[in-house]
Assembly symmetry: D2
Homo-oligomer: 281 residues x 4
């Protein structure tokens, strides 16, 4: 038996569950887990089903469900659970999020392949290569920004990348790149959102005297730090914290929040509905 | 249109979702929300469906689904959302959990009726009666314990009580009462479980030097403090806490944890599988 | 023996602790607890000392320490622990923060007197009066705003109020009132700060798709929602929350956050340093 | 100017603060931070003071304060902040706590030297050596237990180790070793305490249906899992968790809790009072 993940998104209507459940039954599928949600504000239905079947190829499932898919004008995806998404990580010089992702990958916590890490600096080469992962240096300067973005898109295409993770990548992706990567690039913002925007958020947080600092993982959009939120968390701080100690406390939250978002995405638990996300636990 | 909640529990098998979804479709039901879970350890399937229909009476739904229910040997319940469960609260002298439940009821946060509060002491009569709720004094002494338990069961029966909430009720229910109330009596234990058992848990916690204290809401069973856990939470404490300040910190956790459990139960979001619970969020 | 709280604030310098500790020793004071903090960014030293002494009157302590106080140009206050601050609560129609404060007062958790609750509406009169606390209706309209503010200040003066708590008071205090009440009026903002400003923050939060909602208690300043933060907390939400369910979740956070701030203030644990606070635990 | 940490512990009495503050003033010390606490249950006073001075050697401070130390029969320690404690880490095969400590050390978050990691297995050699840290394999079998314990004590002595960290070390230290290391060996227990004791706590937790799992860092004592607690934390779990997913969730809590405890210890923020700890934040 093979395990599959089916994800479905369409306008809500009567008969969706009955239809697709019947379709899977016809295929002798054994449903292991199923989550669904109707967003009443937009009348959108989303569903994630994990099932076992002795079929080999997800396309057999897709084909069998095609008439139903058309009837509901649904977005339908089926993949094998063991066909892991391919993740490219982008970094600059900060290593805490990268190291955490690599450690979780190594520990088998991330159901993903990480074929390559790309950076605009050489600093983290060793950390990557010692895990047996390819490290590529892609310098970015104001003058070479256009070429660098093109090179990045070419790599994503050639390496068949499913998800790009900006693990404290200190470059802004151009709107064109953001468009191409819509819903498949995740950034970690080192602040709670809405929150301190732009540079040095921990200094701003200290200056404002906040008692909690947070981090937000979100899909990348052309509007900086405004993309759909996937995960958020906070940690308490107090008067004895300095901007420096807030940075340290922030690292723990950043890596937890980013890795949760990446894990949710590669397990197909995130659905994008307009500017909001549904994240099944 | 009326809103209904359907809950279902049976051994997992192929075709459950397809069958019941088709059955609801035949009734022109509009599914608003659906959650399901398969507990693989016990091969148990549970489902909670909220739907709209222009039917009036839940028994019409039950009748229509009866053949399917039998086919899967399922426990099936359907009720109208506006047919609120009737809750009896048991208290002694501590008022913080009672006051919290009454406030939430007053604020419309609890989808429940509270026809009566029963206590072995008179102390909290005013707090109850000023909310327009009946207060009954049921004294319990070692000599009258058997009669008191019988009187309690009689009240539960006569008042058509769906759920009994022990809001820091300082009496132990007899095994016979626990049996009758299996799965419909909730207690708040003023400790994390597993944890400090028996008397004065905050003193024990202080003595042990713990850095967190917690509370646990669980279904009542004949084994004291061992019933199936519904909700738990903790709050940090430190060296400057005394048993007294831990008691105060504990109150906040106790009332939050108990009210979450009661809310989950009256919204039919809790399923009992052996000694464990499924709690849909 | 009587218990006293001494609070001190001055520019940091060598010899402060040695000086005041020696001064208290000369008075045969028995120090029960002492916390101090130096804010290096502003070179400000703050200290809170709880001590026992057989003196009756705090002014005897103040007089004895006066030379030292002058030497360090310090702000020094000494009060008896049992001389509770007098708190006026301002409310409109929402009752959850008010009820929580009254319950904690009733339970002995708030070391404060609450002689009066003032509201621009009549709705909450019963909740207040049944606790034996005076309720005053002070209507506010755009036309009567100036008179109402004057009346409020007069009440604060006549009733010898130490702290004003805006427990979801839906009126903005005029800059003049804010100035008079600097450092002794606490507001609960039903959002994380920085966060959604202005009206309907939970609708904004829902619209933004946040995964956490928060609340902030802060001292009132003329700049709306920009005052020095005392306490903050958050609670998780997810895609299945609506603006309405976020409001309910928000209530729990609001009352916890506000009551923590009020408790810290009346126990003299909050120090204002510019726009930031030191809050001793 | 050099920075020093002074820690003091003695029976509470009048004049301690005045005495030592005067003593530091005589040395022209500039106090940067000071925390103190009186444990009234045991009448124990503890204090941690960070100060700057143009002295070079902590023994000059100790000598100057010796008369006062004797007067209060105090335990007094003074060290330079930049004289980092030497930490030995013990591991077996699990790497998550080790990796976290090494990463934090690398990032400058741990004010400690880590000269050596000792393990009863070879598995983690590479992770250690690639950080430039010595890895020693010390096999332990029932037959060699006594020799292994002796070898361990010899290493601790020869390497001048200040703190031993059991980062999921799957061997029980003998009572004799525990005695020698009293107050300077920290273990991470992969459960909340009091909690599930002994083997496979996550399986026990799953079986009990808990809604939170936790971890506890504590000083090692001869009574397994009963040592003085330093730090604790929890993370929520639910019905959809398996023992396996609880293990993964547990790793995040374990490494956070252990690293917090180690950081507190090496920064001299932990005081042992009987079976309880004072941990200054």
């Amino acid at each position: 038996m093979n395990e599959f993940i089916l994800t479905l998104k369409c306008a809500d209507a009567r008969g969706i569950v009955a239809g697709f459940a019947a379709g899977l039954l016809e295929l002798d599928a054994n449903i292991i887990a199923n989550k669904q949600f109707t967003d009443h504000a937009t009348n959108t239905f989303v569903m994630r089903t994990v099932f076992e079947d002795d079929l080999e190829d997800p396309s057999e499932v897709v084909d069998h469900l095609e008439a139903r898919r058309q009837a509901f004008d649904a977005e339908l995806r089926v993949r094998r659970v063991d066909d892991h998404p391919r993740v490219m990580i982008l970094v600059s010089k900060y290593d805490h999020c990268l190291v955490d992702l690599l450690n979780r990958h190594h520990a088998g916590e991330l159901a993903a392949e990480i074929p390559v890490v790309v950076s605009n600096h050489e600093d983290l080469r060793n950390i990557v290569e010692r895990e047996g992962i390819e490290f590529r240096h892609l310098p970015v300067t104001p003058d070479t920004k256009i070429e660098a973005d093109a090179a990045l898109l070419a790599m994503i295409d050639e390496d068949d990348i499913d998800l790009v993770v900006l693990a404290r990548y200190m470059q802004i992706l151009s709107p064109a790149v953001c468009d191409v990567l819509r819903g498949r690039a995740i950034n970690i913002h080192h602040s709670f959102l809405p929150g301190f925007k732009g540079a040095r958020p921990y200094h701003q947080a200290w200056d404002r005297g906040v008692k909690l600092i947070g981090a937000t993982a979100h899909y990348v959009t052309a509007e900086l730090d405004e993309g759909p939120i996937i995960t958020q968390d906070v940690t308490p701080v107090n008067h004895s914290d300095t901007p420096g100690s807030m940075v340290i406390a922030g690292r723990d939250i950043e890596r937890l929040v980013l890795s949760k978002a990446v894990r949710a995405h590669v397990e197909e638990r995130v659905f994008l509905i307009g500017h909001r996300t549904v994240v099944f636990s």
